[in-house]
């Protein structure tokens, strides 16, 4: 936290904490709705499944926060998730002793994909949208060529990651919060973090101020891909095997971007943070949970997701303009 100014100021609702307000309102309204329907939004089972769902998308969204803060974005994450779930399950092949090599392999492969993304964007000057879309297509082609269905096997000991919990909190959710905490420290406390914000704010100004923006962007994409790799590990542990279509079918590419933006990070880069993203992910998960409890048409929740994302960004944008005008 920054030092408090001499005069007391009311906490302002802006793009970074607005999502928590929305989350609170949603929890209260949703809780009442579910209660009148005869269920409970805060029952143990529904809380667990809610947190479980948040974990996978959350880890990807934390990584996506880095790229969006840098003014870039990563559309390849969905395919990285599928690929790494397969690498994990096939390397482990059901044996306990191979868990560590599998994790290392996943991290290495995802980091290299991030490196390729970063190099394409910085050295070959390909627009991030096209570069990561192209890399995604490459991985997709490889996956569709090589795999018709689930492959590999995850040993039972590794499935603890997907199924165990500490009290009501799933281990995977703890992992998500851990990843988010590390990301928060990196963004807010490290030199790289400051350079990241500067690069996203204005690339040319950052470069002229002596920031090696290419290096920042490359690192950013490596971090984002590694996060997608961790999500791939989690999904492999959850599913017990690698799945070639788990990432694309989960819509992790666009939904992670939606979660980040919902959390108040500006799509153009330079403004926002991981805390908002955690809020955005939780908000999406809570909406999911409410709809499950009310047994509303599962497809309809996607409509609500769309409306909520757009509405949230509209509110942020309009507030920002009013503040600018004042």
């Amino acid at each position: 936290m920054t030092a408090l100014p001499a005069t007391f100021r009311r906490p302002r609702v802006d793009s970074t904490n607005g999502v928590w307000l929305a989350l609170g309102v949603t929890l209260i309204v949703g809780g009442i709705l579910v209660a009148t329907d005869g269920g409970s939004l805060f029952g143990q089972n529904s809380t667990i499944s809610l947190l479980q769902r948040a974990a996978g998308l959350g880890i990807v969204a934390v990584g996506q926060t880095f790229t969006i803060l840098a003014g870039s974005l990563d559309l390849s994450v969905a395919y990285v998730i599928s690929l790494t779930s397969l690498i994990a399950a096939e390397t482990m092949a059901g044996s306990d002793g191979r868990i560590l090599p599998a994790i290392l392999a996943v991290l290495a492969v995802s980091a290299s994909i991030g490196l390729v993304n970063g190099l394409l964007i910085t050295k070959l000057r390909i627009n991030a949208f096209i570069a990561t879309l192209g890399v995604g297509l490459l991985i997709k082609g490889y996956l569709e060529q090589g795999y018709a269905g689930p492959a590999g096997q995850v040993p039972v000991s590794f499935q603890h990651l997907g199924y165990d919990r500490i009290g009501p909190v799933p281990v995977a959710f703890v992992l998500f919060i851990g990843v988010a905490a590390v990301a928060w420290v990196v963004i807010n406390r490290s030199r790289y973090g400051h350079h990241l914000i500067a690069t996203g704010g204005d690339l040319d100004v950052a470069r002229l101020s002596g920031v090696r923006t290419d290096l920042v962007l490359i690192r950013t994409h490596v971090i984002c891909s590694i996060c997608a790799g961790i999500a791939g590990l989690y999904l492999a542990s959850r599913l017990g095997a690698g799945a070639p279509r788990v990432g694309a079918e989960g819509g992790y590419d666009l939904e992670s971007i939606a979660a980040v933006v919902l959390g108040g990070t500006v799509l153009a880069g330079g403004k926002g943070g991981v805390a908002g993203t955690v809020g955005g992910v939780l908000l999406l998960a809570v909406i999911d949970g409410i709809f499950n409890q009310l047994a509303v048409d599962p497809f309809f929740k996607q409509v609500i997701r769309g409306v909520v994302s757009v509405a949230a960004v509209a509110i942020y944008a309009l507030r920002l303009r009013r503040k600018g005008a004042a």
Binding site: I130, L133, V135, V303, V310
Partner: protein, 326 residues
Amino acid sequence: MTVSPATLNQSRRSRWGTGSVLPVLAILVLLLVAIAIRQPDFYDPPALLAFLKRSAPLIILAAGQYFVIVAGDFDLSVGSLVTAEVVIAARMIDGDPSATWPVVALLLGFGLLVGLVNGLVTTLLLVPSFITTLGMYLILVGAVYTWTGGSPRGALSDEFRVLGRRGIDGVPWLGQIPYAVLILLAVAALAILAMRADFGKVLLAVGDNPRAARLAGGRVAGVRTTAFVISGGCAAVAAILLGGFGGVSFQVGAGLEFTAITAVVLGGVVLGGGRGSVVGAMLGALTLQTLLTLLNLLGVAGALASAVQGLIILTAVAIGGLRART
């Protein structure tokens, strides 16, 4: 060959650089030569017209996407819009021939309406178009699934399929002139005329520098909104053709937004706006379709085709980007 305003404005040095149609034209010629070697009868007029017929929906989508991109925006909703249109058509017509033409009118109206909503939310509520149209994508997918209960219902009438499947028969030498090709020509002519009119010049100016365009008296919001309406209308036309080609499924439009954006970028149009011609965008779509045809002829399986597609897009855009720098 038409010369776009963008190419006219550029110095001779950058004739091969960004915004120019020459690179994509070169790639297209190379691909066509490769096809000529592999399968000479591809150039029989009927076969060529059939190829153009298959390409028409993507070219029309790319033309629509061009207007949005050149103004500095994205339209990620077109794929889901195409799916929604085909599903709506099947359910509303439900095999009844007399319902065909009212439903076609309804589809066009719906496409324009979706574009209008995209445009208004983007310009009036200041939501970045990436998020607006991503939200619209979620909404349309969710709404279509909710409305149909998970699987498409109803059936298209033969009259509806005429536009996509049939043509003017008995033309000497050419054989059949498909209606799809005529529709494509009409859309292309309208698109070129629109870009040559004042609207097109303002649109380019808006994409190049929205602030300057506004200060110079351009109706920025109006022009950007119109671009979205055009994109929605083009998606409706593409959907009517695609509905005629194949069956009714939720997969009709899947991924088309990315394919269309790729085609536009391949055609030398710069993401972020202000550069490139609509002819280039349509040539980009034709090139992409030619590439897929060639891969098919070479026996590259559908799965690997997306990998090759990704590779070629990355290469093409990288070369374009490097040329722009030198």
